[in-house]
Subunit: 315 residues, 2 copies
């Protein structure tokens, strides 16, 4: 059973319709009556980060940024964070992780309003809950044929850093930065939603292909990506890392036809590169295409926590 | 540094005033603008539960019940749960934990609306976020001199089960039940709050004395407990377990003078024993007293995740 299948099973165990809930599991965050948007993001030492790669404060920052990225992908304005920490003996590790999450919250002006603390007999674990607010949310399920497919920033940097560490090398400074300090796309996600420029949106956390596939599946469409257009991070320099490497925390969204110039103007205003990488078509799944035609999807794409270690990801 | 001190440090790192937040860290749950109540509760294998003691489904149930208990202590009506799971290789463990949390949610009519999933290279970890709603919340800080101190149900059963397991014995069936299936005090907490019968309230998760001390500190009062009145669980049979054992998930609250008969009537209506165990006086801390006078507080009371194993708790 792969991770996607296990997640489907967990959702089917836990979910039933609820009057209090406007959008249940299956998107970047849940949406409650009254406009509350809630997401939780788990970071486990040895799976999501290693403390010989990044400092505990950086690990906390990543965990906080990842949770906030889910709100960005819904177009929600963050209001608060909660942090659950399980740490081995050393209390200073908990403090450093907390400082990191706090710094990620500071970037968008929210505080840590609660959490829980435990000793861990194993790895350090950080679970960050992000709470935000929205009148309506941008889901993964509203992509329509004819829309353009866009991505913010650049991709592959975080995966390049992990690949370097796994090969026993120090990563390129820029790649390391992409891993340790994911970008803040909250202002962008909120603006795209407010201006009606994002119809469907997702944060690119498991890899562009894997996340595009989720949007395609949720929307009942096919997403065609022009691989030549994909913005490969300067710290990656490898298209495959940009297509399949995870943890970039950029936003992928679909936009109505005729909005190209407004989107470019918004990108300039926010100082974020926004790149059109493809379009929504009839069909299913994701098709990659370069100048010479179809580009085979090399793997099913994306990081699978439950895959055998030799298929990629942090062992 | 003990756990309380570490928690204080974490709060001071993460917290700053926020327009979106009506009540920040330091109580059973946080309270946001718009009436949302949020709490998160972490359960770590080997610290909060052991899978040779309880089934994974029971461990999940406990984690869910513990998170909901925080809402009960605020007088909030639960609306939704989120569940983050980190599990070693076996996916069926994740499913069993999820079923357990789901069952705890079912008891109060809420669903699991989201969460996260990771492999764990160490123990299984369950972090449950409980979201609820309230117009106003009952805090720990509103105990006033002259009020009565009450507790629901009975105490010490869960700690008796742990003590038995640690001694290599099977616990008494009733004690085991108290550990594996904490009571649902949500209807009671909501009713006490709605009827104005609970001025200050806390859930007894770290032991009666430790939690009473928190109410005393938050309210700037002294709490005098008549140890002869403390309802010792039939599965415990030991006053010290009832005073200092944690994880009972009962409610302790302070009530205005003259409400005794209304409280007893409410208890009857809800089929929950409510026992008056003491009163709020001027001073600080907790004083234990039996028929013959003061009863020395044997330890600082309560479970400390960061204390050396020989001072109690699951090693």
């Amino acid at each position: 059973m792969d991770e996607n299948e296990l997640v489907r099973r967990l959702v089917s165990i836990g979910w039933r319709g609820s009057r209090a809930v406007r959008l249940g599991p299956g998107d970047d965050a849940a949406f409650l009556r009254g406009g509350l948007v809630l997401s939780t993001d788990l970071a486990v030492e040895g799976v999501h980060f290693r403390l010989d790669w990044v400092s505990a404060e950086e690990a906390g920052f990543r965990a906080g940024a990842a949770a906030l990225s889910d709100l960005a992908a819904m177009g929600a304005v963050p209001e608060a964070l909660l942090v659950s920490l399980a740490v081995p003996g050393d209390p200073s590790l908990a403090e450093a992780l907390q400082r990191g999450v706090r710094n990620a919250g500071d970037r968008v002006g929210v505080a840590i309003i609660g959490g829980d603390l435990s000793r861990s007999p194993g790895p350090a674990v950080v679970d960050v809950v992000a709470a935000g607010r929205a009148r309506t949310v941008v889901t993964r399920g509203a992509a329509e044929v004819g829309q353009g497919v866009w991505v913010s920033g650049s991709l592959g940097g975080a995966a390049a850093a992990v690949a370097a560490w796994l090969a026993g090398r120090e990563p390129h400074r820029r790649a390391r930065e992409r891993f340790a300090a994911p970008p803040d796309r909250v202002p962008l996600g909120v603006a795209l939603a407010a201006d009606g420029l994002a119809c469907a949106m997702i944060d690119v956390s498991d890899g562009l292909v894997a996340d595009a596939r989720r949007v395609a599946a949720a929307s009942g469409v096919m997403i065609r990506i022009a691989t030549d257009a994909v913005p490969v991070d300067a710290g990656a320099g490898d298209l495959n890392l940009a297509l399949e490497g995870g943890e970039d925390y950029e936003l992928m969204f679909t936009a109505p036809a005729g909005t190209e110039s407004r989107i470019r103007a918004l990108g300039q205003e926010m100082a974020v590169t926004l790149t059109r990488i493809g379009r929504v078509e009839e069909g299913t799944g994701v098709v990659l295409e370069d100048d010479r035609g179809r580009h085979p999807v090399r793997s099913r794409g994306g990081y699978d926590h439950f895959a055998p270690p030799d298929t990629g990801g942090i062992p």
